[in-house]
Symmetry: C2
Subunit: 353 residues, 2 copies
């Protein structure tokens, strides 16, 4: 058999050193092949935890001249030698009309983050920093590596936390079926990851801090049409994006009724802080099962899923649309949120007040 004739190798999304022999995914390992390939980011074995620092600024007036200065200074801090392994920046306008830019920085070493944070992260959310019309926040997630899973439609162009990975897995087995995100999460091999305990809110002057209950769930789920040709691009923008936007709007308006604590539908910015062809939704959920139920059952997500499937099946092997997501289920000690001078409905603040 020549190399070309060999069947594609298939592997677990969970890397070998984190595989639990007692796990029980939906399908017996080795017996299921998803209808199209997907890949997970692979982190060095020495990585035991990653850091996701969502450094945000909100402006009542998007043309506020101070915004450019704040974003420029933060860019410099993030580009430092002792800065994050990878980072990107994205923007959206929230439901209250505040233009919001979030710089998302990733480390594969919490100690390195703490060092940088003392000098550059803490001032961002210092009590003196916010001024009339601008608010600053840091949403910080430091999950153990067992509490993160990623999936990519192509084994290239890492986004999000995958920017700190060394590469990608082969074709993974836990994909396509409802429940596969849980089967990809190493921590879910033995733990049902139920929400546990209460969230806390602490107010100190203009600075409000939140620690969510244990096992809240964050998803960042993105799409990139940079490489699409005109036909595919037009199909995506006409048939997929509006349905995606409608689902994102549903989560903003009514997510609270189904366990969605916050949702942002964001556009990635380039090095000049101009919009790119890459977007993502990021949302916090009461627990993984609430996200799973929205995904598998709610009309607003089933429409997104249907539109995406029509796109993928229509373009088949010619598809240049790239999709990815990362799901994180931090313990209670692995997340905290600081909002300095932000309005009451910023981020997860609205869910705990």
């Amino acid at each position: 058999m020549s190399t070309a004739e060999q069947p594609p190798s298939i592997e677990s999304a969970i890397p070998p050193h984190l595989l639990d022999p007692a796990r029980r995914p939906k399908h017996r390992p080795g017996t299921y092949t998803p209808p199209y390939p997907s890949f997970s980011a692979r982190f060095d074995q020495k990585v035991t935890a990653v850091v996701m620092a969502y450094l945000g600024v909100q402006a009542r007036d998007p043309s506020d001249p101070r915004l450019v200065g704040e974003l420029g200074a933060l860019r410099e801090a993030l580009a430092r030698e002792d800065g994050p392994v990878s980072w990107d920046r994205a923007a959206y306008t929230d439901a209250e009309g505040y233009y919001t830019v979030i710089s998302i920085a990733y480390w594969d070493d919490p100690a390195a983050f703490r060092e940088w944070n003392r000098a550059h992260g803490e001032p961002w959310i210092a009590p003196g920093h916010p001024t009339e019309g601008l608010g600053f926040f840091l949403e910080l997630v430091l999950p153990s590596i067992e509490r993160v899973e990623t999936v990519f439609s192509a084994p290239e162009r890492p986004e999000g936390v995958a920017g700190t990975a060394y590469g990608f897995s082969g074709t993974i087995e836990e994909h396509f079926y409802w429940g596969s995100a849980r089967d990809r999460l190493p921590a879910a091999q033995r733990d049902p990851l139920w929400a546990d305990g209460d969230s806390t809110l602490t107010e100190t002057g203009p600075v409000r801090s939140v620690v969510l209950h244990r096992n809240a769930c964050l998803i960042r789920s993105g799409q990139d049409i940079t490489e699409t040709g005109p036909t595919e691009r037009e199909f995506y923008l006409a048939e997929v994006e509006p349905v995606l936007r409608e689902g994102m709007d549903f989560l903003v308006a009514e997510g609270a009724t189904i366990g969605c604590l916050d949702n942002r539908y964001m556009t990635v910015l380039d090095e000049a802080d101009a919009p790119t062809d890459r977007t993502f939704g990021m949302s916090w959920w009461r627990e993984l099962s609430a996200l799973e139920e929205w995904a598998a059952s709610h009309p607003s997500h089933l429409r997104i899923y249907g539109a995406g499937m029509r796109h993928l099946s229509g373009f088949g092997g010619d598809t240049r649309l790239r999709l990815y997501h990362e799901v994180t289920v931090p313990s209670g000690a692995e997340q905290r949120f600081v909002y300095a001078g932000c309005h009451d409905r910023t981020g997860v603040l609205k869910a705990v007040r």
Copy 2:
């Protein structure tokens, strides 16, 4: 608080004596309330296994005069003092055009079944019994009680295996969400119930016997419109039944591609062997996860589910439609199938030949 104001009690579908403290259902026990109540059959604690005997006859010519005699004799055998705890009879015409009547008998004691079977079940499928144009079969499932789960929309009028139960649970927690059937199955608390091993087919003259692999999965899923008023009945027959039939037809025609080994969409017969207003689908699946995936993902089932939801939400508290199902995942030793003089595509024969 008066009695009327007390919140409805809610309990696990798994009876207390079979609850495993290590189980991990989708939702932490005590934290989820389905949007409408459902109930599980409750069996006496001394019941460790039940028997489901599907005694079938197929006729190339539905007006074959021998059919009446065969069915009358079997009715007498089933009505005997030493007969099953409960039984019913249903009919359909299979894809090959054979009119098929199955008498489904339930015991809560395998020893009692064996006694009756020696005298009345074995002759049904004896090599001399089949004659030109008629085929006889026994599809026998003897699951341990941990391998059966049931769900009913109303805690009354037991159907199927629930006829051997002493009554119903209170409102159950594991219901409505995808994956809830697995959470109701006591055996699934520790076992992923993956398909395992091979099926075997043995031929002895006109008698062919099948033993499926371990953890094949049987569902009987029924609907009863006996009590509906004219408006509800008309809605069901115009809006729900055709969609259900279409899904059943899909499983017959193409089920093999998604792990469905056999499907029958049957009408329950009354004591004079005339059709009633009660119908059910019964299907065998490669394993529980294949059934779960059809239910949660396949358009043919999502349409059935959507039509059912429109019915239930449209009639609300006035609904008289009754729904139920039972799911069974027998081990390899807990099922066997004997087909005497039957055509090649009868029951699970088509899946193993």
